[in-house]
């Protein structure tokens, strides 16, 4: 295994002396460098998709307060992308941004189809429940696997995304209480339009070919280099998505069927 000249400084408290900090240096292999590059490529692309989605949503909203909130959210996603980009540039990662790739592009098209209809609720479901559930869960897993500065970055952004999920959950629960059956029917349709894409994207093998973001072959087969695997990443993400549906109020007997009918 070839070791490349890439070092990451991680600070850890010295238990013997609380006023001082020791510095650990961690080397990365080529394989680790490649998979981390692909992870940052996916994260940055995903954040830019989120930013674009909120910007598109802002155009469709008449209410000035909601419009400002959408722009604020878009800016929040932009700052996440900036944060990931800054780290990637500092570490000279090979970042490939492609918002028109097979999966990200399809998700964006799905979002736009609802944004054009000025369907605020649908847009919130796609961006804040489906995409954020996956982002929060995967940032959590990646953050803990990477550790150090990169790990801290993922965990910090995870926390901010979680606020989005919680906030939108409250709004969507209100929508569900107003008309449970109509809401569940709408959610179901969006689930199969969008979650099918995310399920194909995160399947153990790319069910629709290369994502157009990873630099080389699909990174899913290389995740073990940083102590991760796609089965756990996807399982945890689906679990968080299921919990998000529970929090909104969607009955388990429905959400279970929807999850079981996803591509695997």
């Amino acid at each position: 295994m070839k070791i490349i000249r890439w070092y990451e400084n991680t600070l850890s408290p010295n238990l013997n002396n609380t006023t001082m900090e020791s510095v650990k240096t961690k080397t990365r292999t080529v394989e680790e460098f490649n998979v981390i590059s692909d992870i940052f490529s996916q994260a940055i692309t995903g954040e830019l998709i989120g930013m674009s989605n909120f910007a598109s949503l802002a155009e469709t909203i008449d209410d000035p307060h909601e419009k400002m909130e959408a722009v604020e959210h878009a800016n929040s996603e932009r700052m996440h992308a900036e944060g990931f980009l800054a780290y990637a540039e500092k570490r000279k990662l090979r970042v490939n941004i492609n918002m028109g790739g097979e999966y990200w592009g399809n998700i964006r098209r799905q979002f736009l189809s609802y944004a054009r209809q000025q369907d605020f609720t649908a847009c919130l479901i796609i961006q804040e429940v489906m995409l954020e559930s996956f982002a929060i869960s995967m940032y959590n897993d990646v953050g803990h696997a990477l550790g150090g500065e990169a790990g801290d970055l993922f965990i910090r952004i995870r926390d901010e995304e979680k606020e989005h999920l919680d906030h939108s959950g409250d709004i969507l629960r209100g929508e569900w209480i107003r008309n449970p059956l109509a809401f569940e029917n709408k959610f179901e349709a969006i689930h199969f339009n969008c979650m099918n894409i995310l399920a194909e994207f995160t399947a153990t093998t790319d069910l629709r070919g290369h994502c157009g973001v990873c630099n080389g072959e699909c990174m899913k087969s290389s995740l073990h280099h940083i102590g991760l695997d796609i089965v756990t990443l996807r399982g945890n993400a689906l679990a968080l998505y299921a919990e998000a549906m529970d929090n909104i109020g969607i009955p388990g007997e429905k959400s279970m069927v929807w999850i079981a009918r996803l591509p695997a």
Binding site: T204, A239, D246, E253, M256, I259
Partner: protein
């Protein structure tokens, strides 16, 4: 029907005991349009799913009362039902409990492996408005009544029989032991925990009941005419099982049949099961996959207990804490069960119903 308007009289928390069942269930709910998923694919996702309700159930008492319940699946990995995985599984059970409480169930039964929460420590639930039961009292009643009825059918005299109880120090095993000590010629007690087994043996000896005990069932099997297995049967061999023995497989999963393929001269039935005379309806109807029994309306004793308590509107912590099942409670719950038309299930095993 949705969870904002549906009435809820009871809930049952459970888990699947085989990947075969899980695979059939998942492919059933995927419907006929989508391709079936392999067991391996399902294994990749199944145990990540947080506990959730799978179906509602409408149950009819023969008194004319109708109640509605809910089944909450824990999504515990069927290969991880051993004590080794207790911490992970416990978390799932606690999450399932919080889900049934949130859905407003006045009484919840914890079926199969999930009952360990109540058998161990009630503290987390003592202040809860919702009530819980393991369902072990009615399960024990169905086991005992099953043994008595089957012995009668086969002309076996209980008072002249040695009865082996495997899993004798568990909650259901203890209930069976204390009930049958008055009826059997001798009890043969088996449990993995030797400390608890010795304590139980000492108690019975001081009460002057004839008994033998061992941590290995093979030591006791040659002298047993009747065998009750209340333990998980995955590690039980029954190599020395005598001819014509009457066996009640009341463990979870019920797979003693697999251990006895070499010995066809035994009378084995799946015990602890009831049958709802008034019938029940699953919504959606998953009876083709997860409630497959050779007779209609057959249901586990633990779920039956919640149904009976809901029929009676007795929302109380009925079967809780290990070792508290008394003969009086066994008779009480069985009498109430019969009152509502929930009787002992017909005798069956993996091959089907017993011949008439």
């Amino acid at each position: 029907m949705d969870s904002t308007t549906a009435r809820l009289d009871f809930a049952a928390i459970g888990h699947q005991d085989s990947w075969r069942n899980v695979t059939a269930f998942v492919n059933d709910i995927r419907g006929s349009v989508l391709e079936n998923l392999s067991c391996e694919k399902i294994k990749e996702i199944y145990s990540f799913i947080p506990p959730r309700e799978l179906f509602r159930v409408k149950v009819r008492s023969t008194t004319g009362v109708e109640i509605e319940g809910l089944y909450v699946e824990t999504f515990i990995d069927p290969d991880k039902l051993s004590a080794h995985f207790v911490r992970t599984n416990l978390r799932k059970v606690v999450n399932a409990i919080s889900r049934t409480s949130r859905l407003g169930s006045p009484i919840t039964t914890l079926g199969g492996f999930t009952s360990i929460v109540l058998e161990g420590d009630l503290d987390p639930f003592s202040t809860s408005l919702a009530k819980f039961t393991t369902g072990n009292t009615l399960t024990a009643a169905f086991i005992i009544k099953g043994i008595e009825k089957a012995a009668d059918l086969l002309h076996i005299d209980l008072s002249q029989s040695n009865i082996l109880v495997i899993g004798a120090t568990g909650d259901i095993g203890l209930a069976c032991t204390h009930y049958l000590k008055h009826k059997a010629k001798k009890l043969l007690l088996c449990a993995r925990n030797t400390g608890r087994l010795e304590q139980l043996a000492n108690d019975l000896t001081s009460e002057q009941f004839p008994m033998e005990y061992s941590a290995d069932p093979e030591d006791l099997l040659p002298r047993a005419q009747i065998i009750i297995s209340t333990a998980s049967s995955s590690g039980i061999q029954l190599k020395n099982c005598p001819k014509n023995a009457l066996i009640c497989d009341a463990g979870y999963p019920k797979n003693l049949d697999l251990q006895l393929t070499h010995n066809r001269n035994v009378h084995l039935f799946h015990g602890g099961m009831g049958q709802v005379s008034g019938g029940f309806e699953l919504i959606p109807d998953y009876s083709r996959t997860i409630y497959q029994h050779p007779a209609p309306y057959v249901i586990h004793g633990c779920i039956s207990e919640a149904m009976v308590l809901a029929f009676e509107k007795r929302f109380e912590n009925y079967s809780i804490e290990k070792g508290k099942i008394t003969m009086e409670k066994i008779e009480e719950i069985y009498t109430l069960s019969v009152k509502h038309g929930i009787h002992l299930a017909p005798f069956y095993n993996a091959k089907g119903l017993w011949p008439d």
